[in-house]
């Protein structure tokens, strides 16, 4: 069995495009999922029972089912039920955004709840309104608590984008596996795919460690 690694160099353009798609998906998803997570967290903490219930149901559903199945469901089921056809990219982005919003909701909720009650009491005692207490006292502190967890979520999201390959979205995984099918250079392409993910993911993981070290235990 001979291995021909030149296929990797020959496909470098396509692979770069795929890697770029992976990065784009990650950035866009996080851009939607951070405000989405904050919204869900506030709903979860709201005194309105309906808002709370809705948020809880949403979060539990997306946390307790596999992302790959959420992607399949969105892709195969939504068009037949809603009579509208989204592109693979849009479907993947939707599934990823809702999934990560659910995780972020829990992260933000824990961050907000971790701020001692005395802090908001001190704000109220000064005559601040509830909204002012949130803006001035609670949220700024919660954001610092939440940043390390968001970094970890980012890295997990980066890896999870590979799952959109199953609905033929042109990310790195899909691109590499397509070239593998066309060229029959299985070991070469799959190894290249692994190496490329590793090269992009390893620094992100190390950066996350650094963020955890810098921000944790700063109280």
């Amino acid at each position: 069995m001979t291995f021909d690694w030149s296929i990797v160099w020959a496909s470098r353009g396509a692979l770069a495009t795929g890697a770029w798609m992976t990065v784009t998906l990650t950035i866009l998803t996080m851009a939607i999922a951070i405000p989405g997570g904050i919204l869900l967290a506030l709903m979860r903490l709201s005194p309105l029972g309906a808002a709370r219930g809705l948020a809880i149901a949403f979060v539990e559903f997306f946390r307790c089912t596999p992302l790959i199945l959420q992607v399949y469901w969105a892709f195969y089921v939504l068009p037949t039920q809603l009579e509208v056809q989204f592109s693979g990219f849009a479907t993947g982005l939707m599934a990823l955004s809702m999934n990560v919003s659910a995780y972020n909701a829990e992260t933000f909720r824990a961050g907000i709840n971790s701020i001692r009650r005395g802090q908001s009491e001190a704000g109220l005692a000064l005559g601040m309104s509830g909204a002012q207490v949130y803006r001035e006292v609670v949220l700024p502190q919660a954001v610092k608590r939440v940043l390390p967890v968001l970094a970890t979520t980012w890295v997990a999201l980066f890896k999870d984008t590979s799952l959109v390959s199953v609905i033929a979205v042109g990310d790195l995984a899909y691109t590499a596996m397509q070239i593998r099918s066309r060229s029959f250079r299985v070991l070469e392409m799959l190894t290249a795919m692994a190496v490329l993910y590793w090269a992009m993911g390893y620094p992100q993981a190390k950066l996350t460690d650094w963020i955890h070290r810098r921000l944790a235990g700063r109280e």
């Binding site: 307790c64 992302l67 890896k159 984008t161 590979s162 995984a173 070991l187 190894t191 993981a205």
Partner: protein
Amino acid sequence: MEFTLGPVLDNLPFLLRGLWMNVVVSVVSIGLSLILGFGVGLGRSFGPRWLAVALAFYVDSMRALPVLVVIVWTFFAFPLLAQTSIRPVPAAITAISLHVAASVAEVVRAGVESVREGQTRAALALGMTRIQVLADVILPQAVVRMLPAFTSLMVITIKDSAVASVIAVPEIIRQSETVAGQTFRPFEVYTFALLAFFAILFPVARLADWLYGRVAHLGRS
């Protein structure tokens, strides 16, 4: 949006066999990853420096790789490299175990290092050997703190078993694809799969939350 139970009920045994496959893959992977993860975690904390470096490389690499990539490489590429063949289920179990074991190792390492140094010193002062210190003093205190994180990893492993569908492991997503293709009712079939996973994962996730609440007061020993 109409929902008829027909397609699901007609093929229920077929779908449930798929779900059982998820369970089997998950349970075996959890067991193997716990064993491997403990070894790696303890090796990093207590082993010689060259071993700690090598194991750190393994752990960090697995953190950088999506589980899909590891599964696919194990099933398609590894046999070519090793001039052998591997069946889908063993490939999935191997890949998932290797991937999750890295996370287990991190939990073990953090748990062991969260036990105060004074505990080790006190035990050594009593004349215990290093192995005894580990087994009788450190691990009992550390394992309690690790339980919530392990439960979270169980949730992740069960979800990873669904990714094994891409290498044609006959788990529930694969079975659902077949049934949906035959009955032209993807809505009912995939919704059933979602509900089946939810029924399994919801209790485990709640267990993890409960455990996190129980050990929260422990802090550093």
